[in-house]
């Protein structure tokens, strides 16, 4: 087991390095940040000064090694635009994105699990069909469009919820969070729903598929045959079994939720990492783009690693496989 763990870890580190190279070269191959950042009426001298000031006069490989050397010390470069450490900029905005992503995930579970369970247990009832049709909508509607519709209806027409932005925040553990205030929650509701639509559909489908497979399994048939109450069969035998894959996926999805918040955040003017990255792409703030992507990569690799290891613990077949090779 520990050999497997070590090997997996080494592989993860290799992946991080490979990604850093790809990300760096990819991002530094795009466009010309000086052309974008510089005032249009800057003359040639000023342009050359700016190129040197941003360190873009060095050859690409040298820029990469400078980046790598600094990254080893935890410095992912300085933002061209804000003149602040890229890492600090991102971390400043992380709580906003995290609470949005968690809010969306929780909402997906609260709404998706019961609906999926029902649809799985009564696959042919009209309500189940409606639920499934609804889940297809959740997959189909473009996030940005739904976002604007939500604003149109709930903020502009009905005036129930604030249209955009993050509400007042309160400090917890040295960070600013808005879910601690009522007003903050109100601001968070629409973006969180917008972000969770896809996930709700996903949870519904996973749960339904899981339920439908599980109730045909021998142990469930056996439990039924034993005369256990239906509620107990569903609650214990079925639910427990489908919960693992559903939670796994939702956990895995957390990363992509954070990434997908790019769209939601830009529609709702939510000051999180996603909005930062879109703004940074628009002005080619390379250090911030690279730092953001590296953080996402690290996060995903960690999640994948944890899932793989968990799997090898849970499912002996996979572990045997890993040992065998």
């Amino acid at each position: 087991m520990s050999v497997y763990l070590l090997r997996r870890l080494l592989q993860a580190v290799a992946v991080v390095f490979a990604m850093s190279l790809i990300v760096f070269v990819g991002v530094y191959a795009i466009g010309d940040p000086v052309e974008i950042l510089i005032s249009p009426d800057a003359d040639q001298l000023e342009r050359e000064r700016a190129i040197a000031a941003l360190g873009l006069d060095l050859p690409l490989w040298e820029q990469y090694f400078v980046f790598l050397a600094r990254a080893m010390q935890g410095d992912l470069g300085r933002s061209f635009v804000f003149n602040e450490p890229a890492l600090r900029l991102i971390l400043q905005r992380m709580p906003a994105t995290l609470e949005l992503a968690f809010g969306a995930t929780i909402m997906a579970l609260i709404i998706g699990l019961p609906l999926g369970l029902y649809a799985g247990l009564r696959p042919h009832s009209p309500l189940s069909r409606a639920i499934m049709a609804g889940s297809i909508l959740g997959f189909s509607l473009p996030t940005f469009w739904v976002g604007l519709m939500l604003i149109m209806v709930f903020a502009v027409q009905l005036g129930w919820l604030p249209s955009t932005g993050r509400g007042p925040t309160r400090e917890l553990l040295g960070l600013q969070w808005s879910f601690l205030t009522w007003e903050g929650m109100r601001h968070m509701l629409m973006p969180a729903i917008n972000l969770s639509l896809f996930k709700i559909s996903l949870v519904i489908r996973l749960t339904r598929a899981g339920v439908r497979e599980t109730i045909l399994q021998d142990y469930v048939k056996f439990a039924r045959a034993k005369g256990l109450r239906p509620a107990r069969v569903v609650g214990v035998h079925v639910f427990k079994n489908i919960l693992i894959p559903v939670v796994t996926v939702v956990g895995l999805e957390l990363g992509s939720t954070i990434a997908f918040s790019v769209v939601t955040e830009s529609v709702f003017a939510w000051p999180g990492m996603g909005k930062l990255i879109i703004d940074s792409i628009n002005v080619l703030d390379r250090p911030v783009i690279v730092a953001y992507l590296m953080i996402i990569v690290l996060m995903f690799i960690t999640i994948n690693l944890v899932v793989d290891l968990t799997y090898s613990v849970l499912d002996p077949r996979v572990r045997l496989e890993a040992k065998g090779t």
């Binding site: 000086v34 052309e35 003359d43 000023e46 000064r49 700016a50 300085r78 903020a155 932005g165």
Partner: protein, 537 residues
């Protein structure tokens, strides 16, 4: 001569400011908080870090300049009450007495000298303000309220340049880094607002500076939010979450005009949208995106023929573009500057829409069947940029110049335009209210040493125009300079160096209870907003 002119102007403006101040004070109940939303993110509170309109707008709220500009970008006294050229190479500024910074420090000539010395030395600046102080060779403090700036050559534009430089406090800002400004610690100026809190990319909270020397702002506090998504910004205004927005999307204009809860404020801006053409390839070379109708190279560059350029310009129905695409939020243009601005040329009217004439000119130039061309355009930079490009494409196609339109993000577009990869491209230019600014940057022959033609992406070159620009840049007499600049523009536009399309209208929208003085430089500042009833008096 020029000095007297300026003094008169400054006295008049001062009186106006005083009158406004009295009116402002007379306004009864002052509203407490103003919530405004802007469309472009403010990247830094350091006034010398990044030459960028949103940053400049906020810097204007916190700091003052020696010479401020009014809403038509005319110079008005700021921290300097008077300025004149005592010699052709020496400008003297008399400073405003009794001004204090937010922290109580008095403002003196020392602060000006410190600022001028800091401007070119801001580390990591992606677009510095250094060019505005570059002509200055020496600084002489005559007394605490008089300062003289010495230049190598006559520098008639120095006061204009200094309208870009916000003044710092030597004591507070010595050794302060950009981060200190962003954190709010060093965001200390003489301006009408002091910074309470700055949440980068999200909002800035301001509080009125009660000790401000000029007109007192109408609000106690200001929340300055950044909502970059156009639709979301309009929605926030309609929902009442914010009371004031800038960069109103043209697609929402019709609705907002009809909405009883909302009022608009508009002014013709200084930004020209135009088409740049490939002047780099010689008449007998191929231009990269021009072919015949079968896609074969032409063997010559039709864009070097002034008749072709004129035909392309005549083929464009500017009225249709400003009315249909821009929904009225633009004025057809035949030159860089709108009417009423220094060095505007009265007889350079927008070229007449004449597709028949255009076809005749093309035939005359040897292209009776026309040719094929690709028009490149950004799609995220100027108002409706890609839409305008498509409309131009339709119009060119109608005279036989079959046009493909390729719209790209600004990041890709501008890098390629800078490498002269295009045959025709759509781009914009926000001018200073002075003809030499666009002429020198867009029309003048590309010349690194002189700093000319840095944005001349079509590489137009006309020695006659160059000579006139050189002449204007050292002419201290205002009237003479205006005449030279008008002559240079006349020559350039008669030669169709670029194809001007329209000048944008700057539009803000606000809830009914507010009034706003629109600025042609596009800056969105809280001191320009006041309760509507105060405006009525």
């Amino acid at each position: 001569m020029s000095a007297t002119l300026r003094r008169n102007a400054s006295v008049a403006a001062g009186a106006a400011a005083l009158a406004l101040a009295v009116l402002g004070a007379a306004a009864p109940a002052r509203a407490q908080t103003l919530t405004m939303a802007v469309g472009a993110p403010v990247t830094s509170l350091d006034p010398h870090y990044h030459q960028l309109s949103p940053n400049n707008a906020v810097a204007d709220m916190i700091f003052d300049r020696l010479i401020n500009t009014d809403n038509l970008s005319r110079m008005v006294p700021g921290l300097a009450v008077e300025w004149r050229a005592v010699e052709p190479t020496v400008w003297e500024f008399r400073l405003r007495p009794g001004v204090r910074f937010h922290n109580g420090n008095p403002f003196t000539a020392e602060d000006v000298a410190f600022t001028l010395q800091r401007v070119p030395n801001v580390p990591n600046s992606p677009s510095s303000f250094a060019a505005y102080v570059r002509p200055i060779r020496g600084v002489e403090i005559v007394d605490p309220l008089t300062i003289r700036l010495r230049t190598a050559a006559p520098a008639p534009l120095l006061p204009q340049d200094l309208t870009n430089v916000r003044i710092l406090d030597r004591e507070t800002h010595e050794g302060a880094a950009t981060e200190d400004y962003n954190s709010g610690r060093a965001a200390v100026g003489t301006g009408p607002w002091r910074v309470v809190q700055h949440r980068s990319g999200d909002r800035i909270e301001f509080e009125r500076n009660d000790g401000y020397w000029g007109e007192k702002p109408a609000f106690q506090r200001v929340t300055y939010r950044m909502i970059t998504n156009d639709a979301a910004r309009t929605a926030a205004l309609l929902a009442g979450d914010v009371e004031f927005i800038d960069q109103v999307p043209t697609s929402d204009l019709a609705k907002l005009r009809a909405d009883q809860r909302v009022t608009l404020s508009e002014i013709t801006g200084l930004r020209l949208i135009f088409l740049g053409l490939d002047h780099l390839r010689a008449p007998n070379e191929n231009s990269p995106f021009v072919t015949d109708h079968e896609g074969r190279p032409l063997g010559r560059n039709p864009l070097r023929d002034v008749r072709v350029r004129r035909a392309l310009s005549m083929a464009i129905d500017r009225q249709a573009i400003t009315q249909r695409v821009m929904e009225g939020a633009a004025t057809p243009a035949g030159q860089f500057l709108p009417q009423g601005v220094f060095s505007h040329v009265p007889e350079l009217t927008p070229p007449r829409f004449d597709p028949e004439g255009a076809r005749r000119l093309l035939a005359e130039a040897g292209y009776p069947q026309g040719f094929r061309i690709t028009l490149h355009s950004p799609n995220d930079r100027y108002i409706n940029d890609a839409r305008i490009a498509q409309a131009v494409g339709q119009m060119w196609t109608r005279i036989g110049v079959r046009t493909a339109v390729e719209a790209q993000t600004w990041t890709t577009f501008i890098a390629r335009a800078g490498r002269q990869e295009f045959s025709a491209h759509l781009i914009g230019w926000g001018s200073n209210p002075e003809g030499s600014h666009p002429l020198r940057n867009i029309i003048a022959t590309y010349n690194r040493e002189r700093g000319f033609g840095a944005s001349n992406r079509g590489r137009y070159s006309n020695p006659e125009v160059d000579a006139l620009i050189e002449q204007a840049l050292v002419e201290m007499d205002e009237e003479k300079r205006e005449r030279i600049l008008q002559e240079a523009q006349r020559k350039a536009f008669e030669d169709v160096a670029i194809i001007p399309l329209h000048i944008q209208t700057n539009i803000w929208a606000m809830r009914r209870h507010l009034a706003h003085t629109p600025r042609n430089d596009e800056l969105t500042r809280a001191q320009d907003v006041r309760p509507a009833n105060a405006a009525a008096r």
